[in-house]
């Protein structure tokens, strides 16, 4: 190795190290993006949303009126699943019911005999709660009012991704601060949001809608 090459190499290593440091800092290494835990009840979003056409707000009922999106009560599930119960009653138009998931649900609301056969559904005050595993979480020092976003027309899929397609829900966005701020500063494009929600016609119609910006003052979210 020639002398000239050797010190050129040393400088090169230094430059690469600096660049790597910068890039790693930028990459958002601390995000839990992609987190896809197993849930106590393998709730099939595609079945309910895509096939049955249920609205997100049916279960996440507070998303348009509270900072908190709301989690369906067990009673909400049982509103239908007292009838739509595993293999017994077929439902029109849906052939392949995920009986395993429904059985998982019944573990919380029904009696089972020793052989594992399901008995009657217990009265509501004897149900137990389903310990869902939280996926999307911003730290406690971030105040994220769902209703402001939902009412501003931000589609759920913009942030949460194609949940109607997800057999198992995972964290779609990084939820990093830069991710938030970019949207607040650049503005939310309705067309993009509608496209993410699968509404291509609406997206085309909204192509010329001005991006909706939001405040980027620190104390809007951190207090």
């Amino acid at each position: 190795m020639s002398r000239r090459r050797s010190w050129a190499l040393a400088s090169g290593f230094f430059a690469i190290a600096v660049a790597a440091l910068g890039l790693s800092a930028y990459s958002g290494a601390s995000s839990s993006q992609g987190f896809a835990p197993e849930q106590p009840v393998n709730f099939p979003h595609p079945r309910h949303v895509k096939q049955l056409g249920m609205n997100c707000l049916y279960c996440h009922y507070a998303a348009n009126k509270s900072p908190d999106p709301g989690l369906p009560a067990v009673g909400t599930c049982m509103g239908c699943h007292s009838l739509v119960a595993g293999p017994r009653q077929p439902i029109e138009g849906v052939a392949d019911r995920d009986t395993a998931a429904i059985t998982q649900l019944y573990r919380y609301v029904a009696t089972f005999d020793s052989s594992g056969r399901r008995g009657a559904i217990k009265p509501a005050d004897q149900w137990s709660a389903i310990p869902w595993v939280r996926i999307h979480k911003v730290p406690e020092y971030v105040h994220f009012p769902h209703m402001r976003h939902v009412n501003a027309g931000v589609t759920c899929q913009t942030c949460h991704g194609p949940v109607p397609e997800m057999q198992r829900v995972y964290q779609y966005s990084s939820l990093n601060m830069g991710w938030c701020v970019n949207c607040h500063v650049q503005g939310y494009k309705l067309a993009d949001g509608l496209l993410a929600a699968g509404d291509t016609a609406g997206a085309r119609a909204a192509a010329n809608v001005e991006p909706k910006k939001a405040r980027y003052d620190c104390a809007v979210c951190h207090y």
Partner: protein, 167 residues
Amino acid sequence: MTRGLIAAYHELDALVEGIEALQHRKFTKFTVYTPTPRHEIEHAIKPPTSKIRLFTLIGGLCGVTFGYWIAIWTSDYWPLVVGGKAIASWIPYTIIGFEVMVLVGALSTVYGMFILSRVPKITQTMGFDPRFTGGHYGIYVETSPERLKEAEATLRESGAVEVTNER
């Protein structure tokens, strides 16, 4: 194909004489070693001024520009008012500019020294004798094989305590 001779000197005036003799006989490719820099040697060789100052100047200018730029750009990138001061206020940013100027200027000066002096060197055996870091002065002459004898004679005449063939 060149050949080299290493001459070790014990006395400074002998070394100076050797340098002047080599110059007189038009030996142009030689390197002088000295345990400590002496003006006498510098006066004998009359070297060109080191180009390090260019590195210093460019490094310093880059530094001060970067210092001001990062401070002003980041202030405007996300404007936040503190203490009622202007969002990008150049007066305090002078400190940043100054410090980065010193940092980059100093590092590029050292970098320049490395480049110009060809350090770090992976090998240091050729044309060098460990005594040159001790009490001895030295000259390493590179020349064509046919002038080798003449060079050796010149060095010995000037008072070299030892002349050895390199390679």
